[in-house]
């Protein structure tokens, strides 16, 4: 920055043939002739403009906003239909003395509850969520510093593989917890009558 400044000031501004003065020449005024101070410098465009970058922008209205409005409308209609035709679950009044046959966490925590069935609670209740939230999410951009320009999944196979593995594992335990756990949190096979542990319904509430 300072280098540039001194360089610019010490440069002799040669008179240019007025007919050949371009826009950039017109801006070249000796420092001393300016009635204002230099507060900041902005990178100047190249003196010789080889080619202007193609303008790949479109107007936000209508191009982006119309899509957003449409998405919001479709979502509204979907929610209205859901609200009209499917009632939110509600069971009996809470009773701390009566454990229901199926007691499950909400689906987004059911993976953890499923892990509780396999591992020591400190592992499934603390270590794994900690690892997922901290390692898998918060510090991901600071671990994956390989090549900032590599955006395509095919250019960053390790990261994509590891992250996908994390996701698939999480999805799998959640899936088992949601669909294959029945009364008393025992393993069941819902809706398939030829299994021994068959149950006739699904055992989760949304």
């Amino acid at each position: 920055m300072t280098d540039q400044k001194t360089e610019k000031e010490s440069r002799v501004v040669l008179p240019v043939d007025p007919t050949r003065r371009t826009e950039i020449d017109k801006q070249r005024v000796p420092m001393s002739a300016r009635p204002y101070r230099l507060l900041a410098m902005v990178k100047q465009d190249a003196v010789v403009r080889v080619q202007k970058e193609p303008d790949d922008t479109v107007m936000t209205w209508p191009h982006l906003l119309s899509i957003e409005f449409l998405a919001a409308t479709v979502m509204s209609i979907f929610l209205l239909l859901m609200g009209l035709f499917i009632n939110a679950p509600l069971e009996e009044l809470a009773n701390g003395n009566l454990t229901p046959p199926v007691a499950k966490a909400p689906w987004y925590l059911l993976g953890l509850q499923e892990l509780l069935a396999y591992f020591h609670p400190v592992i499934s209740g603390v270590l794994v969520p900690f690892l997922y939230i901290l390692g898998g999410a918060f510090v991901l951009p600071f671990i994956d510093r390989a090549n900032p320009e590599a955006k395509k999944p095919s250019e960053r196979k390790t990261t994509v593989l590891l992250f996908s593995l994390f996701c698939i594992l999480g999805l799998m335990v959640t899936f088992v917890g949601v669909f294959f756990r029945g009364p008393g949190y025992s393993i069941v096979t819902p809706l398939l009558p030829f299994f021994d542990n068959f149950t006739s319904g699904l055992h989760f509430a949304l």
Binding site: L65, M75, G83, L93
Partner: protein, 242 residues
Amino acid sequence: MSFLERVDQAIRRSPAWRSLFRNPYPNDERSRAYAVMNNVFLHLHPVRVRQHAVKFAYTFCLGGLSFFLFLVLTVTGVYLMFFYIPSTTSAYSDILSIQANVAFGLITRNIHRWGAHLMVFFVFLHMMRVFYHGAYKPPREFNWVVGVFLLLFTIALSFTGYLLPWDQISYWAITIGLNMASYTPVINTPIQSLIFGGIEVGQNTLLRFYVLHIMVLPLITAIFLAVHFWRIRKDGGISGPL
């Protein structure tokens, strides 16, 4: 000029209309720019956006729809608040009466419930989309971290709301959550007494979850959302194209 046309013109020329819509319907580039620039809601966006960023198949509108669901949940949630008291003796019957006696109560509760599940789901999907596009890479690391906070807040909002109907589903789901929290080494008791207000789910838990659900978490989420959206523009708009 027909009568209707005259009424139409009179409305459009009235001071009230012109204070509301300061520009005519935007048809040229200049007025379209003003439509965004002069409108506080639309001004989340720049006047122009890059071509690839408006492709539906790039974002699938997942972030935008998560935000829309947040708004829907705020509106329906405020309506439900008018008819709900967070007390173990009345919460459940309040829900019953919302469903039976309150005008549009049932559909409002349904939409609030389904919207909440959908929001958690969409925020997950949005995170996947951001990951597979490598959109967490510089300069967007910070916004990714803001996003992870948003995910946690979304889950916390959903979890705290889950208790409020005070039925068997909610009671036992939160009890399982409380048990999980009790395995945390060192800070388990502070967590339990601070967030759950005791060693078992009761009136304290209900009141705390209620305050978190309707006040603390929505406010924090709104602040983080503001930062999230502001960062998108500071980071040069949507990432890509791939």
